[in-house]
Amino acid sequence: MIELKKFGWMIRKELISLKRHPPRLISILAFPIIMILLFGYGMGGDMTDLPIVVVSQSHGDLTDLTLDTIKSTETYHVVEVIDDQDKAESMVDKGEVKAAIILPDDYDDENSTNQKAVTLYLDSSDQMASQILDSSTQAIFSRLSNMVASGSVTAINQNSTATPSISHQFNNFKDDISLHINRIYGNIKYIDFLVPAVLGMTVMMSCMMGMGATIAGERETGELARLFMTPTSVSTVIGGKIAAKLLIELVRALILIFMAIILFNVSIKGGILQTFIVLVIGALCFVGFGIMLSARTQTQEDYAQIVMPFSMPMMFVSGVFYPIETMPWILQKLAYIFPLTYLNDAMRGIMLKGQTLGDVWLDLAVLLGFTVLFFIIGVKRFNRDV
């Protein structure tokens, strides 16, 4: 009963602190939102509406078809269609647009036997954008070239309205070759791949950092000494801290999940409850990690130094941004000793594949194993000396 009261005080203390420091409360709640926005829009989004200019020096059906196709492709945002090639190139040079698609002057000349050389004048300094422009422009023109070859374009001439026939021709074209892709987990975007791991990573960062702040910080400022002078065991004091930390982390995890759903329409196939349980286990594990590291750390500054070599590699090696399999073998091996790898795997299993807790039992068992290990080492190493 008394021990419960002591637990309660630690939670109460944290909540009072937050209530009396609105900026701190806001930053705690804003952090997951910023993370998800950052990763969602910054890394997970598709590139669309890249500004381009088109140089069209002839008129005819093929030109119309080409312009319409370009304009209707989401990748491009056609700033202008002009007939001056030099002006278009200078627009690219000045950075006003990312590329210029230059159609040759004999583009619509059916009698010309020359190969119709379309030029993509590309700002290759923007690597990401140029790759996307390169591939989608190639795709458009190889499609158009196929259509010309199969005589489809000639067919356009016989139609009075251009647009429906284009779609018609496209459909014809699509019917010729069809590729059936069987995506076993549905159509997964990069953001879907990212969100479960970003959740895990956010929980890891704030649990590890936060635990240091409370334990090493209170050791430094002496509050911990006062608690340790009372007839209270180390595990009760630490337990109270964990309970408080866990509560806040879980609220943040929930915010993170809901923000991901609202902003990016991320689907949680395995359900929120199971996701939540996995996150709780992950949070416990990292709180344990934090306690182990802070057990003998005398100041908050020391703690920050100690925690960095663990948290930074874990962030990049544990498959948050790229699949582990794409990394060099040594990092792959390293990934397997980081708890975050298992948390990410379990989170993806539940959120993406719709697995159950039973399906990811191995990940959870490893996480719980780490947790027990961290706590034993932490409490054993922990001394009352403050």
Binding site: I2, K5, K6, W9, K13, I16, S17, R20, H21, T221, G222, E223, A225, R226, L227, F228, M229, T230, P231, T232, N383, R384, D385, V386
Partner: protein, 348 residues
């Protein structure tokens, strides 16, 4: 009288150095004990062992009769500690901090708040009970810290530099409070570098240096014994010098000057007759009058009657003494003397 604290060969060894070396200390119950010592002498380590924050390497210590190793929780219940650094939660109010401490000590909830209120009245902080610690002044923080440390009615209270950085008025209020707590039956262990504070408050003083107790007595006892030992030392030095004929006259004078003691007084009027009779007095070795009219004398260090003689001369010449002072060893002198001796021994 039984002892509140007893240590027997208490030792704490860290990897490569001995912080506390076979300390034997007895602090009588219901007294104020001053624990002095230079920085790094082992005071903090001793307090940590007594408050069960660290375990001794060897030896034993009892607090209120309980062994610190065998019954740490009993010891913790008997102890209160007001640390140098105010270690209360800054975002919580004085009341909340005290309640938190009370609950960590397992105080009965029915009497918790009334007990806290009584303590707040005692230390006069009740008016700020709903203020956060971060909003308090230095003195108020110390008072709040006292309330939180007293909430479980500890028999023994450790105060670590309780008045450091406080203004003289607040200091005095705290000193009064420390006396009052002692009157109420608390044993108080005061760690301080403020010699005046220790001199005024403490019944007994122990000086710790390099992990050992190097002096233990009442403050006056320590000063008196320093006076005696100074006299002895000086006599030895003088006899040594007079034995060595080769010593230059100037050195001899220097040493003889050392064997003089300062005395000064302020008279209602510095009549020439008084000054003349003082000059005639054998005990007076030199005389000068400061610009503010204060008469400064040098008298024979070894003549126990010198002070008496001088005063008699003044009174007999119808002088009216407004104030008088003589040079006596202070507790600071005792501190410097007893901590330097050991340091020299160490170096030897």
């Amino acid at each position: 009288m039984k002892n509140a604290i007893e240590t027997e060969n208490l030792t704490k060894v860290y990897k490569n150095f001995t912080a506390v070396n076979s300390l034997n200390l007895e602090i009588p119950d219901k007294t104020i004990f001053g624990m002095l010592g230079p920085n790094g002498a082992g005071k903090t380590t001793t307090i940590k062992m007594l408050t069960c924050l660290i375990q001794p390497t060897s030896g034993r210590a009892t607090v209120g009769g309980y062994d610190v190793l065998k019954n740490p929780d009993e010891v913790r219940r008997l102890l209160g500690m007001v640390p140098q650094q105010v270690s209360l939660y800054k975002d919580l109010t004085v009341m909340e901090n005290s309640q938190l401490c009370a609950d960590y000590y397992g105080i009965n909830p029915d009497e918790r708040d009334s007990r806290i209120e009584d303590l707040m009245e005692l230390v006069d902080i009740k008016y700020a009970k709903d203020k956060r610690i971060s909003q308090l002044s230095g003195g108020q923080k110390q008072k709040a810290s006292l309330v939180a440390s007293l909430v479980h009615r500890p028999k023994i209270l450790f105060l670590d530099e309780p008045t450091i950085g406080l203004d003289p008025t607040t200091k005095r209020t705290l000193w009064d409070l420390i006396r009052e707590l002692n009157d109420n039956g608390h044993t108080i262990i005061l760690c301080s570098h403020d010699m005046h504070e220790v001199d005024m408050l403490c019944d007994n003083v122990g000086i710790i240096n390099t992990g050992n107790l190097v002096a233990y007595d009442t403050p006056q006892g320590l000063k008196d014994s320093l006076l005696e030992s100074n006299k002895k030392e000086m006599a030895e030095a003088l006899s040594q010098i007079s034995a060595e004929n080769e010593v230059s006259t100037s050195t001899k004078e220097d040493v003889e000057n050392l064997a003089l003691r300062k005395m000064s007084f302020l008279l209602e009027s510095n009549d020439e007759s008084i000054i003349d009779s003082l000059k005639a007095n054998e005990s007076v070795k030199s005389i000068s009058i400061a610009h503010n009219g204060r008469v400064n004398l040098r008298i024979d260090y070894f003549d126990d009657n010198a002070v008496n003689d001088v005063l008699k001369t003044v009174v007999n010449s119808n002088g009216i003494i407004k104030s008088v002072s003589t040079e006596e060893p202070s507790l600071e002198d005792v501190f410097i003397k007893s901590t330097s001796e050991v340091n020299e021994d160490d170096r030897a």
